[in-house]
Amino acid sequence: MGPLKRTREVIFYFCRNGKCEEVKAFEWDTVASALLAAGYKIFRYSDKYCEPRSVFCAIGLCNSCIMVVDGQPNVRTCITPVRDGMNVEVPQ
């Protein structure tokens, strides 16, 4: 595939239980790819049994990877490009 395109870096925030951490990403990352690359593997917990959820289909069709992005719930992180200052929360 050729060398990694180390282009512009983007910084966004991963928030869990009220605490936020800075995450570095490339401008071509999606929220999901950046989180996985940074080691944040669990994106949410299921409604009924509080089971951990992460990426499943990676192309916006299964809704497994949804998180709260900039206050908006149910955002499919696998097809959402990252942006500087973006706020990504594990839904409560």
Partner: protein
């Protein structure tokens, strides 16, 4: 505010891009391509292996390079692609179709069009077993997207379920990315994909366990262990045949199903054909569905291959341009396209799909033309 277009293409994968290039070439000007993904090209850009087929179908080229070519062609012809745009609703008044589009920046907009080409592709199937919802269990296509496009390896010790071409190819690509494949499990007593794809990974020492399926997957918050077991001739699992693996990624490569939500919404007629991946819309030789002015192409019209998607896209583009062509030109182009499609579907692997497509055309004639509806 409503905008009117000559042609709207839904999906910018190989079929959609090919169809777009064709309608632009034939002379349509107001052409809109929409895709709900942030990048165009569908699944083509994550295909890093060299393609088979004939020179006309880009054989020998790596998938993503074919994608680049198609994209350049569309751009050169003046086409633009509206990304992150989903079709959220449709209605139909005589020949005019109205589409409601949603985009995160522009919000909801309405579009009117006479010719609609649906190229929405297919989605991965799932098999359920205890632990299947655990993070770390992903579709094989998902892993391919993450590794080849986003350069993220979601795990280092992988179990692959399914030995069809997708399972075999993704396994090879995982090896190239530095992962270890503990095994490929296949429920049938023989591999599902081509021998050459299996040979590439067998020579790397990856075991392919036939007549074997996943029993369960365990882990606290992410996959940690996978247990597989043998399946007897009667299809029942054999107790005592369990083998446990330490893994941190389980890939499911168990088939694809056409994304028919849009064609269902529009009210097109469908047929269920195993050889094509399940429910798929009926169409005629010009790829027109039971709804006049609605065309389909690519995996949504039957899960096949990228080369078929490219050819069907071209055919749908020709079909949609029918009024811009003479009857003679149209018939010649359609005939040539089916000749190429027949060649792509030849051999023992293509035969079931060739037969399935014949059934679709036959069923279309009976159900649609027979009732005097449609083209």
């Amino acid at each position: 505010m409503e905008i009117e277009y000559d042609v709207v293409v839904v999906g910018s994968g190989p079929a959609g891009l090919s169809a777009t290039a064709e309608v632009l070439r034939r002379g349509f000007r107001r052409v809109l391509v929409v895709d709900e993904n942030p990048l165009p090209g569908g699944q083509l850009f994550k295909q890093i292996h060299k393609f088979f087929g004939s020179r006309e179908h880009y054989a020998g080229m790596r998938g993503f390079r074919i994608g680049e070519r198609l994209l350049n062609e569309v751009e050169k012809l003046g086409g633009t692609i509206s990304l992150r745009t989903s079709v959220i609703g449709t209605s139909y008044e005589g020949e005019i179709k109205t589409l409601w589009l949603s985009n995160p920046e522009r919000g909801v907009s309405k579009v009117r069009v006479r010719k609609l080409i649906v190229a929405t592709g297919a989605k991965e199937n799932v098999i359920a077993f205890p632990g299947w919802t655990l993070p770390g269990v992903m579709g094989a296509g998902a892993v391919q997207t993450l590794v080849n496009i986003y350069r993220v390896l979601p795990g280092r010790r992988v179990l692959m379920a399914g030995s069809g071409n997708v399972g075999l190819i993704v396994s090879y690509q995982l090896l190239q990315a530095g992962a270890e494949l503990v095994a490929i499990v296949e429920i049938l007593p023989r591999i599902g994909g081509w021998a050459v794809h299996a040979a590439k990974i067998l020579r790397m020492g990856v075991p392919i366990m036939l007549s074997t399926t996943i029993r369960e997957v365990r882990g606290r918050e992410w996959v940690e262990k996978a247990v597989v077991w043998r399946v007897g001739r009667d299809g029942k699992p054999v107790a005592g045949s369990e083998v446990e693996f330490d893994v941190d990624l389980v890939c499911l490569a168990v088939g694809l199903s056409p994304n028919v939500e849009l064609t269902r919404m529009l009210g097109c007629e469908h047929l269920h054909l195993r050889a094509l991946g399940g429910w798929t819309p009926l169409h005629d030789e010009k790829m027109e569905t039971s709804l006049k002015g609605v065309y389909v192409c690519g995996d949504v019209a039957g899960v096949e291959e990228a080369s078929v998607a490219i050819e069907e896209g071209k055919l749908a583009g020709i079909g949609a341009s029918c009024e811009l062509l003479s009857r003679e030109e149209l018939n010649t182009l359609v005939e040539e396209s089916w000749r190429r499609l027949d060649e792509l579907r030849s051999g023992p692997f293509g035969e079931p799909r060739k037969e399935a497509k014949k059934l679709i055309l036959k069923e279309f004639k009976q159900r649609v033309r027979g009732r005097g509806i449609g083209g």
